[in-house]
């Protein structure tokens, strides 16, 4: 199976003169996973804001905001189907940017990626750094949240709250004890976070889903905000060491 991704850019007016850029991705790895659940550093298999469901698109679509600190650097988008039947790594080179850039990422019309790939049964994580195996730093990779095949209209979890979804590959866990901090520390705010084991028998490449309630003013913040997500696995009565990820949001996709 061959996957091609490109980021289409359309210059947009307003919202701090934020633009949308277009990048062509380079496929660095595309394979069928081995359907095993060994906990690897790349525990975060998908990260997206839940959006209003889109009419069935002809092609999968991905949108995000590229932070300033990623200017001129390589980023890697990892696509994983929940069943583990499909995975792909697509590398992008972010151009020099003078400001945060809005990006609309979408698969090319000719992509043979299965049309059944949806936000429910697949995940995409976009991480700073080249696509070299599972290169997530277990003590704190840096991700951007994205919309995966959905419109840029967050699903509300209550007044002023958007729903951030993390699809995770966790082995040896009876439960996850997870927290999310706005601004990277408890001082700025602790966000409501809940994690559940997926009961779908096909949930092999990722088997836990965490939901974070993110204030929409943080999502819309033109200056961008940072979340720190951290968790411990609790297995047979004992907690594991803490793992965490830095999640960059903002500019209100």
């Amino acid at each position: 199976m061959r996957l091609s991704i490109f980021i289409s850019a359309v210059m947009l007016a307003g919202q701090g003169a934020m633009a949308e850029i277009e990048l062509d991705g380079t496929i660095r790895g595309e394979s069928e996973l081995d359907r095993t659940l060994i906990s690897k550093p790349s525990w975060l298999r998908g990260l997206h804001f839940a959006g209003q469901e889109m009419p069935t698109p002809e092609q999968p679509e991905l949108r995000t905001v590229l932070p300033m600190q990623w200017s001129g650097k390589l980023i890697c988008a990892r696509v994983t189907s929940m069943s583990g039947d499909y995975s792909a790594m697509v590398e992008f080179e972010v151009p020099q940017m003078s400001q945060r850039e809005r990006a609309s990422l979408r698969f090319a019309p000719a992509s043979p990626i299965p049309t059944q790939v949806t936000p429910e049964n697949s995940g995409v994580s976009i991480e700073q750094g080249p696509c070299i195996g599972d290169n997530l730093n277990p003590t704190g990779g840096s991700f951007v949240a994205n919309y995966w095949n959905e419109l840029a209209e967050p699903v509300s979890m209550g007044p002023g709250l958007a729903q951030l979804v993390l699809n995770m590959n966790i082995a040896r866990a009876d439960e996850l004890d997870a927290r999310t901090y706005l601004g990277g520390s408890p001082a700025e705010g602790v966000l409501d976070t809940s994690c559940n084991k997926l009961t779908d028998p096909d949930a092999l490449a990722f088997n836990y889903r965490c939901i974070v309630a993110v204030p929409t003013d943080a999502v819309d913040d033109p200056a961008g905000r940072e979340l720190k997500f951290e968790y411990e696995r609790i297995y047979r009565g004992r907690p594991s060491a803490t793992r965490s990820a830095k999640i960059l949001i903002g500019s209100g996709l």
């Binding site: 095993t36 659940l37 060994i38 906990s39 082995a171 040896r172 009876d174 439960e175 004890d177 809940s194 559940n196 084991k197 009961t199 028998p201 609790i234 047979r236 009565g237 004992r238 907690p239």
Partner: protein, 333 residues
Amino acid sequence: MRIFGVLLLIAMVIYYVPDRQQSFTVTATTEVLTIDPVSDGVTEWEVPRIEACIRTDAPKRELKVQGCAMGLYEGVIEDDYPTLRWTEGYRLTFRAYTADMIEVLVEHNPDALPAPDNAPNEQRRGEMKIPVVTLGDRVLTPDSLLYIPYRVAGERTVLPLRGYVSIGDVPDASDSLLLLDGRYEIKQNLGLRRDRSHLVGEGRLFPGDRISFALGDRPWFVPGDAARPKEGPGRTNALARVFVTDLVAGGEGFDLVATTEPAYANLLLTRVGGQPTLIPVPWTERLLGDGVPVAIATLLGLIATMIALSNAYFAPPKAAVRIARFDGDRDAS
């Protein structure tokens, strides 16, 4: 006679080819068993001793129980035949713990129906009121752990349950808990005595196998829903009765026997490196497993033999006549 034989063969094929209800018995030594208990009321266990780690972020008292982390669990030790009361809506995972103790993880089943409004002992998960499991007069919260000794003062502990089971687990990590050894039998109701089941398949389970009982489709010619077993909403598994115990003191893992109720179901086997597979029962196995066709075949064979013998002894020796004529002709020439 030939027509009768052909008709009999066709009748047997028509009778034995379609799938039918079957039940399974699995006996295994395993390190892990998962069961979603089902009962018409409340299931009770009364065991000599239970140690419990009740999940709570704010323990009222700190009592170290087994390896449970202080601060996450409230430790409880009950050693005077405490009663454990189950209701539906929970998933229990039995795991080998030490040579003399089993561990049970008590999880709320996210697919379960909420508890009725008038259910006692308020317990909520999010917005939903969930049914309550109790140990004595304590409510067990979801994600609690129980530690039950296999034997107390020489008395063996037996834990019976009824529900939807999954035996063993496919290795997915370096310290996976596994099914160690086991075997299965498949029985079906065949022949004229429909109340008696016949063995139509059996086999051995390998270490690392995972076994469950998957409901199949009812054949088109079987009327009504009565043929389907009682099942929960959205269920695709067949109900089983199971008991857990430790047959050999000090051995690895624990032992269980699980038997399903007759249903249009299949044994679902997941083996490392392979896709989940339904173990088939060929119609020829049904034929071989049924005594009636064997008896009919034997009877027909006897009849045919008797006819052949009677022909040999009482019918005119035509072959001998032909030989005599041939010899006569040769002599004449």
